[in-house]
Amino acid sequence: MKAVLPVLGLLAIVGIWWLATIVFEIQPLLVPSPADVVESFLELPGYLLEQALVTVWEAVSGFGLSVVAGVPLALLIVWSRVLERMFYPLLVALNAVPKVAIAPIVVVWFGFGLTSKVLMVVLVCVFPIVISTASGMRSTPAELVELFRSLDATRTHEFFKLRLWHALPQVFVGLKVSITLAVIGAVIGEFVGADAGLGYVILQSGASADTSLAFAAMALLAVISVALFYALTWTERKLVPWSEEHRVV
């Protein structure tokens, strides 16, 4: 049953899309019909899946790095008002720089290899993780913070035995926002200086006006994101069973 609904939703959307391409007689160059897209995919299934794997790998490793970097960053920010005041605005500023515009610089710096793509992913992912983790840690109920104070707990304990745990559900919100951005980050990295990955396929097909192929690649991206997203949701359920979100209300 559970699986039926998303499939229904998908069918509804695909149906509307198909109808639109027929009714409005949209040129395939602009928006190809679902059939065109499927056909494009079936022409090169092996190749596309291979490229998809490349992108997944970049996205996942960048995402992992972002978690490893972002959570401690959030900790530092909540830990010290001084650090927060000094570097939080910079983080916001960094996040606001359009990644598409700095992608070439990143490639110049870090080469055509995996590094530059992973870095792009990190640049895109880190901010949502930091901000939601920080906000989660800050929203720890006053009564629990008081408990730790009363035990004269070190700040390390306050952070690792209390705030981080309390923040976990919100950390996951950050992670879920990030994971879809991660895929996009990888694609942007691939737009500049790559010869593999779905981003490269999109670039190629865009430039050769092969819109159905681009759509096929984007559909794959969507599938990847949805899979990664629900993998996270599943992890959350396992890891945060006490969260209000999972109680039957």
Partner: protein, 240 residues
């Protein structure tokens, strides 16, 4: 052990405590009673070093209180349990924070004693209100502090459990006396347990009077001598 010197406290716009002078001996059990909202919890927080008094000074064991101390345990009015920890892990929290050796057996013992045997692996949201309060009690008992601050520890418990735990507390205090400040709404409880009872007047909380309970221990609920003190206290509260 605890000395309060002209302690006052205000929250923005609310004058909670006013000019409290109090001395609690090293082995003394002091109960605090007073109308709801008169500043009892605030008093405990001040002694615990969780709040800084607006005026006056507090010292514990001869040192000025500027921050919480590890030899002072606090049991809060609300259970304040960590929702992600099991009952057992919640009880063991102070031990973990202090970095002490294994206290698992002691924790099980306390849980058994408070009637929570079998609930060690449950999470707080699966417990009734009274059970949560008992977990919080176990957590504060697992530390062996020199000073115990308890804020209405038995308020959510039924008469029987309450009596049992009162007796247990008396036993512990006789065996290994410490300085205890015990906030309660039950006059009987105060009379049963305390060496001295501080009666606070309503907002702003001032010391209305201090009653010495000069009765021999162990005491038992329902003793006629206790009733006399209870009546006196009730009178003081009404006119407080």
């Amino acid at each position: 052990m605890i000395t309060l010197n002209g302690v006052s406290h205000s929250f923005d716009g609310v004058h909670a405590l006013d000019g409290i002078d109090l001395e609690v001996g090293e082995h003394e059990f002091v109960a605090v009673i007073g109308r709801s909202g008169c500043g009892k919890s605030t008093l405990l927080r001040l002694v615990a070093g969780l709040l800084t008094p607006s005026a006056g000074g507090i010292s514990v064991a001869g040192e000025r209180v500027v921050r919480p101390r590890r030899d002072v345990s606090v049991m809060f009015q609300r259970p304040a349990l960590l929702p992600w920890r099991t009952v057992l892990a919640n009880v063991l929290l102070p031990v973990e924070v202090f970095g002490l050796a294994d206290h698992r057996d002691r924790a099980h013992e306390l849980l058994e004693l408070t009637g929570l045997g079998g609930f060690e692996k449950r999470r707080p949201h699966e417990l009734s209100g009274g059970m949560q309060q008992r977990v919080s009690l176990c957590r504060s008992l697992i530390q062996s502090p020199r000073v115990m601050l308890m804020d209405e520890p038995f308020s959510a418990l039924d008469a029987i459990t309450r009596t049992e735990l009162c007796e247990e507390l008396q036993r512990v205090q006789l065996a290994r006396p410490r300085a205890v400040v015990f906030v309660t709404h039950s006059i009987d409880e105060a009379v049963l347990l305390a060496d001295r009872i501080v009666v606070l007047s309503p907002r702003p909380g001032r010391i209305r009077s201090v009653v010495d309970v000069g009765l021999p221990r162990p005491r038992a609920l329902g003793q006629v001598e206790l009733d006399a003190v209870s009546r006196e206290l009730r009178g003081l509260l009404v006119t407080a």
